[in-house]
Symmetry: D2
Subunit: 350 residues, 4 copies
């Protein structure tokens, strides 16, 4: 541990990803939690807003003041809603703060794509400054980035599963399907009948089938790897569980001799130096329970018995590797720490 820990502030710290950021910063050997900022909860005790911190954090939620944040902290994690985040991030960047942004605001290279899905961007001039924080694929750029766009939960799971296949030309670039299943915490802390226990338990359903805004984010990353634009069909589903994403991806092999074993091998090669990724043996299936609460990614590959379709599966915890843990992983890389620092705990199973 360094003698001077990295001082961190969590802006928007009172939702689910904020709670996870606080937990991870508290448990990290090289970071210090300076304060928790929240718009609607400012002035309340942190422990009243985040009940898991009762008896642990004795502080009050602070209103957002970019000068104060810049003065007190070395880094800011922003877990604000889209657009609101861009404003806050911009204010912090003006003050020279390193920012890890969990919103979508800085994930897209192409402003037009962003605006087609999220509306007008408040500070488009900063897009070029950002690096996409999928560590396994952008590790080198992240070492010097000061504005890091932490990926979405679905794009993290989906891209990591497909990257070895796309990058190595193992699959055809047309006809890729991503069928993703998410726990309810992915919908955030806001209340609605879509998250009401009674209307969610014992139900599984797709939502925004073919029209979810994580689709273009996945396409951006896969196109980058492919070296040419590609399109996917992306359908997310809501599952009666709190945490976890399983992405089941379907693609046609580029060559009829492709085997699942070759996919496993390609993934193991690509992720050889990636402490968060574990590639299962051929024939094994990832399970979100096996990674719950951890920053780990479990990948699995299978082939349909007809030999036509490759099935790539990926399990993550949407709040950890799909959000807050990945933000910490980015910090580790940016500050030259061990990539797994503070993230090595196995899942709490069961």
């Amino acid at each position: 541990m360094t003698s001077k820990p990295i001082r961190a502030i969590v802006v928007g710290g009172t939702g689910y990803t904020g709670a996870e950021l606080v937990r991870l910063v508290l448990g990290h050997p090289s970071t210090e939690l300076v304060s928790i900022v929240g718009n609607t909860t400012a002035g309340q005790a942190v422990a009243d807003v985040l009940p898991s911190l009762r008896g642990i954090v004795d502080a009050v939620v602070q209103p957002f003041d970019p000068d104060a944040v810049a003065a007190q902290a070395d880094v800011a994690f922003c877990a604000l809603p889209h657009a609101a985040s861009a404003e806050a991030v911009s204010a912090l960047r003006q003050r020279g703060q390193k920012v890890f942004d969990l919103s979508a605001d800085f994930r897209f290279e192409d402003l037009a794509v962003y605006e087609a899905w999220y509306g007008k961007h408040p500070v488009p001039e900063r897009l070029s400054e950002a690096v996409y924080g999928l560590v396994e694929l952008h590790r080198e750029e992240l070492r010097t980035a000061d504005l890091i766009a932490v990926p979405g939960c679905y794009p993290t799971a989906s891209t990591l599963a497909l990257a070895p296949l796309v990058k190595n030309g193992l699959i055809r670039l047309d006809g890729i399907v991503v069928d993703a299943k998410s726990g309810v915490s992915g919908a955030g802390r806001g209340v609605s009948s879509a998250t009401h226990f009674a209307e969610t338990a014992e139900g599984v359903r797709a939502y925004k089938a073919g029209a979810h805004r994580h689709g273009p984010e996945i396409e951006q990353e896969l196109s980058r790897l492919a070296g040419e634009p590609l399109k996917i069909a992306f359908v997310p589903h809501l599952i009666p569980m709190t945490r976890g994403i399983l992405a089941t991806c379907y693609a046609q092999p580029a060559d009829s001799s492709l085997t699942a074993a070759a996919c496993v091998e390609a993934a193991r090669t690509l992720y050889a130096g990636s402490p968060s990724v574990h590639v299962l043996d051929e024939g094994e299936h990832p399970d979100t329970l096996w990674v719950r609460g951890s920053n780990r990614v479990h990948l699995g590959y299978a082939q349909d018995r007809n030999g036509q379709t490759i099935i790539a599966m990926s399990a993550i915890d949407n709040l950890v590797k799909g959000a807050s843990g990945q933000a910490i992983q980015c910090l580790n890389v940016r500050f030259g720490l061990d990539e797994g620092a503070g993230l090595q705990a196995p899942a709490q199973w069961p």
Copy 2:
């Protein structure tokens, strides 16, 4: 109601589909429950084996005796494991009994396909006698059938979603993907770590990806509709809920002008006289909770924003429309009753 009700026996009545058969036979206006037969539980009180029948059914589970069954009942529902079922069915058919078999033993026209997936068939000579009990697609043949092979749960959901598209040539026959999500009751009443609450809640995982034996059953029915052999990729998933199947099916349009609205229209036309099927409006997503406990099928159609992929979704209760309710629906058709008799109750929501 006829003055003489149809006397029914449930063979293998002490698992989950058996329990549902008993519930449905008891609530049916034209059937009478004669007895419940179970191999391993013979001699126990029915109410000890099926606790929902406490205070309702005052009987003892009977051992299987084909002569007694044939003497006492007009019809037998068989809810036995594969292969064991074929033996029992054959014994009952020899005695002239009408049989509704919930196993896979008589679902396949092609013995080779059956034996590739289930092993040696005890009475292959009876395969030709059976009619596949997917009422919406085989209604006319069922009116005179005496051996009815009630479809599997995944094939019911998947085939009904895809049938309007395949039958009308709206989609290409190659590259069809079925990503299915099932509640845990689909694994049956047997205990294993795969059904242990602690290892199932908060977890979602695929199993037998690309290699589940319901794949060829779906292919048989879709090939029949297509008029030519087709292959699909089929991946089932286990979901932390008790009941329900959601099948999300992906296919490429045969013609680039195909719209989701046209798919909705095709489905509404095909299922116009089918009381169990409801086709949602374009843009709506079926939810297993909306059909839980009922014999209903909710279908929905969407198109990926890139215009490449058609998404067909189907929600059923795996124990009702996916098993026992469908068996009753077959009985209704076979005996000239209203197709929805005893099956009209809406889902218990929430």
Copy 3:
């Protein structure tokens, strides 16, 4: 079945108890559903508000008009919030309508108790007109009642478990504890963080411990049976499931020779003519899953190994026997029908 069915309207039909009322009225052999009335959803399609009715009910939610209700229907079921219900009920009673009210507004004999827990009563003059609709204990009065106050969910479960003990003087009247566990649907359809899936799954907690307004309702009924006022300690808990109440009641035996077997016997005697109640054998434990979706009550009795404490347990479905099914049961009694008409289906298990 009578040639002229009883015409029923459900006022406040778009919450969970309303949905169950609609389901039960539709499935009842002697009732006809005339319309569904809802304040905030008037003008919307019923099937949009209650998705389980897609393809089944083709009607629009009606605004509340007491003249229209009185003209069209023989009976009204009111499933409105407290106080709003009293107003609606009064308007209907003025027009001579028979009303089954699921709110608390007419459950209390003592106005002061009502107002201490619910606030000012809009029409206190009507309290004396009402009969408490716990059929097993008020069957005779209900045969002629025109304003029926359907009991709360917790009071139904708790009172039925304790009634045989209190009525027969088997237990001491001081020191009774009711520890009740409810599924989340008991909190209604309104959204809040208390019903958010992510904050409810994997959590169990008491709420309003010792201060819930169902406490005095239980006390009213038990005091009536005891012939003297008694007080209980009542603590409800929220459980991560959708439906069901388990009430575990603790009391000290009046006489040290009391056995659990004697409690079972007392319950079987008291409920001998009650088709909804099933008393388990000594040593068996009721389970909410065993009654889910049904109007049944399972009661069980045990004694602590130290011989000091009697444990009375009761399982119901909070939306059926704890609300809508009980309302139908009241209607059956009021109209001289079989008490179990439309309510005989066993639970959907599992």
Copy 4:
């Protein structure tokens, strides 16, 4: 951190408490995991038995060999079934090993009580050697203990809630009721219909009401605090969640002037130096979700509105504070480490 970590072996490491022990030992700053011992899984890869350790632990489950354990490790955690544990513990103690035993075998001072509930004790002569590992109440004795009997999950939750009241004479010693609710992981990893997802979800039920063997364990500890023998009524319930115990305890005040606020105060005084315990404010209710995955105990106190009954509530994670975390807490005390070492992480919420 010391330069020489404490070398630990987990005997019986392949069930749920074993998995948690491994996770906690791996994350502890002063311990080193030497090996994992398992009877039935010896020879298998640890990562195949405990899937959360895929990619983390590259070792094989070892057969139990007391000489090897004593040679390789400074301490052994035993997570074996009752009776089997006593044999293993005795073998290890003979070799001078410090042992933290998670079974019931050494929890009882009175051999007769043990044998009444668990059967014949294999090594009764060692009972006197053991210290009961409820750190908050036995801290001083634990500093020198070499055989530590880690308490049961229910006794941990129940005793901590009631201890401040009993120790300070605030409540009457007769008539105490403990109504406890446990997640399904408390039943262990063994499969049975009682843990089958489909028969557990949507169900809540008591089991062994008044006759569970954790009752006498609670009585032992409370009697010790009271200075005289007392008896309680103890009823455990199974709840459809994986982790967590909520104990709701009911007692009569010794003096009618007792308030919930005084109970809160007594608890805060007793647990002033206990880093794992947090006492909520009067009127707040503990929630198992708020402590899930952590070693924390949340206590809350309320009083029934009638002023008769004190309600003491306690929430823990049954696998952490109720088992493996508590074992680590004992180790910390035994080795003079910070009591919270390796246990300070807040719950993973939600």
